[in-house]
């Protein structure tokens, strides 16, 4: 527990004090260099958990430690260098070029009023290359497709060079080709020592990348553990209230439901 990159103890949080909390005694410890999938039905609090981990919402009770230090003790820009978030989607009405948009990931590495340097542009360009979007660097953001936009947001987070990368439904808008590419990117980041944490609704993505799983259920304390122990037919059937089977096809696990 001590060498964990991210440790949560009994995190409880809700948006309104007069209602039941959204997050209920969330406790887990994520070891560095692993990929955690947060799985649960709509409304179970997955995105809320990411907001709390980001420090955007303060938990009602409990403690969050990042690399052995309380998350609250990090300065803003320090936190921006440790943690990055890939949101589900983001809207801008303005004609930013893809490169200028990705470049904003460099903000926590710059003094508040400094301009990005050539080195920052280089990092942003190589992040775009990693997600396979180098050719679109000059494209205006509003003209991108939903999938391209999601990959661009991933590139911005990669340009941020975080130790812990959080992705909120990263494959929601992606076609099969880009889904495979994102899985590959996540594997590559893990091999570079980045710890990843994603929420995901797609069992085959979870089965393909996750080392650990946090199963969330509205109103219940979540269950944390290695993929093969937590992501089971019984548990999935319970949280989704559907008969679910895990089958193996050509050596890969798949989820079947009726």
């Amino acid at each position: 527990m001590n060498d964990a990159l991210l440790a949560l103890r009994q995190i409880t949080f809700g948006y309104r004090r007069d209602r039941a909390p959204v997050l209920n005694a969330v406790t887990f410890a994520l070891q560095p260099g692993r990929i955690l999938a947060i799985v649960g039905p709509n409304g179970a609090g997955k995105t809320t958990l990411l907001s709390v981990l980001l420090g955007w919402h303060h938990p009602w009770a409990g403690a969050i430690e990042l690399a052995g230090r309380s998350l609250a003790s990090y300065t803003r820009s320090e936190r921006g260098r440790w943690l990055a978030l890939v949101p589900q989607s983001e809207h801008t009405p303005f004609d930013y070029s893809v490169l200028d948009y990705v470049l904003m990931g460099r903000a926590p590495h710059l003094p508040p009023l400094a301009m990005p340097t050539a080195a920052d542009y280089e990092i942003a360009l190589s992040a775009l290359e990693q997600v396979g979007m180098a050719a679109l660097a000059d494209q205006p953001v509003p003209q991108l497709s939903g999938g391209e936009r999601q990959l661009m947001l991933a590139a911005r987070a990669i340009a941020q060079q975080p130790r812990l990368l959080m992705l909120d439904e990263p494959t929601a808008h992606l076609d099969l080709h880009n889904k495979a590419r994102l899985i590959q990117i996540m594997h590559r980041l893990r091999s570079q020592g980045v710890t990843l944490l994603m929420t995901n609704h797609e069992p085959e993505v979870v089965l393909a990348v996750a080392d650990d799983v946090l199963l969330m259920e509205a109103g219940q304390p979540p269950v944390f553990g290695p993929l093969d122990q937590v992501f089971t037919e019984a548990a999935l059937s319970r949280i989704y209230q559907l008969p679910i089977r895990l089958v193996e096809v050509e050596g890969r696990k798949q989820v079947l439901w009726t």
Binding site: S77, R79, P93, Y121, A137, P140
Partner: protein
């Protein structure tokens, strides 16, 4: 691959920087020419050498044209920069700094001073700036009490409500005003003019206006980050609440101060930033300085026309609306390919 791409980005930034220098040079040139432009001794440009001989010409240039021109430059820079800041922070290309109750507040203050307090210039100015800031403060307090939407939306809704209230007040004052003396004065104020600018008026506002412009200029790249949604800006290490409030104050305060001496000069804050974005793309690192310079040039040119086109003065707001709309329409219809800068 990356090396070549990086080269082209560095070249692109270099070109944008050169565009800024070009705009700065144009601003300076137009400033000097405007100083010599007028209707004395005859309509047209004043001969430079005449300034040494003709005492009246020199006094005219130093005491009348110079403060007026500096005010026009500052007004254009401020309205455009404030407009761009607002459009980014509110993620809406159709807002401008007057939205937060400032323009209508100033209009109400000026109209009230004209109707009830005799309308002496100083009184009108103090009332205008007082009510402009009151409009801002009122919008802010109201936004904190609204229970709907994120704070950006709340601020905008509160500002629109406060503007509507003040605009109802302006309507009432116009109705009450003496149609022969006070009403024309109110109407003239609402159309904006720099005809009555003196060194005294300019010096009263120049320090806070310059400081605000400097603050906005220093934030020119960071503004991009603050324009992202709040949680994302936070995840990038910003303090969106605090920093956005600072920028809003740095945008609204100089706007309020300047319109208190110029009257309402319409559409600059809305059109110039959109015009600039068409030419310079959205990145405010170059876009914000560019919009300041383009706005300064635009208002200087409009004011040149306002004071020279006819023997009498044309209200500035009429010209900024007319030429601003024409330029913007032209740009929209021509759809020029953005310079590859």
């Amino acid at each position: 691959m990356t090396a070549a791409a990086l080269q082209s980005v560095v070249r692109r930034n270099h070109r944008r920087q050169q565009w800024l220098w070009l705009l700065a040079a144009m601003t300076l040139a137009i400033f000097v020419l405007s100083l010599l432009l007028g209707r004395y001794p005859a309509p047209g440009l004043l001969d430079w050498s005449r300034l040494g001989e003709d005492e009246l010409a020199l006094r005219l240039v130093i005491n009348l044209r110079l403060p007026r021109l500096i005010t026009a430059l500052l007004l254009g820079m401020t309205l455009s920069a404030a407009g761009m800041v607002f459009q980014l922070l509110f993620s809406n290309p159709l807002v401008e700094p007057g939205f937060l109750g400032v323009s209508q507040g100033a209009a109400f203050g000026a109209a009230a001073a004209i109707v009830f307090l005799g309308g002496a210039a100083v009184v009108t100015q103090v009332a205008a700036v007082g009510f402009a800031l009151a409009g801002l403060g009122f919008s802010y307090l109201l936004a904190r009490r609204l229970r709907y939407g994120g704070w950006v939306l709340r601020l905008l809704l509160a500002g629109i409500a406060v503007s509507a209230l003040f605009s109802a007040g302006v309507g009432l004052l116009k109705y009450l005003a003496d149609p022969l003396t006070q009403l024309p004065e109110i109407t003239f104020w609402l159309l904006g003019s720099l005809a009555s600018i003196t060194w005294g008026k300019l010096l009263g506002v120049v320090a806070p206006v310059s400081i605000s412009l400097l603050v906005l200029w220093f934030f020119r790249w960071r503004l991009n980050v603050l324009a992202l949604n709040e949680e994302t800006a936070f995840s990038l290490g910003a303090a969106p609440g605090r920093e956005r409030l600072l920028l809003i104050v740095a945008a609204v305060l100089p706007t309020a101060l300047l319109i208190s001496i110029s009257g309402i000069v319409g559409w600059v804050g809305l059109i110039v930033p959109n015009f600039t974005r068409r030419i310079f793309a959205a990145d405010t690192r170059f876009g914000l300085p560019a919009t300041m310079l383009i706005g300064g040039i635009f208002v200087m040119l409009c004011d040149d026309l306002a004071r020279t086109l006819l023997p009498g003065e044309i209200p500035l707001g009429i010209l900024t609306s007319f030429f601003g709309a024409l330029a913007f329409l032209g740009l929209m219809m021509l759809q020029p390919s953005r310079p590859k800068s």
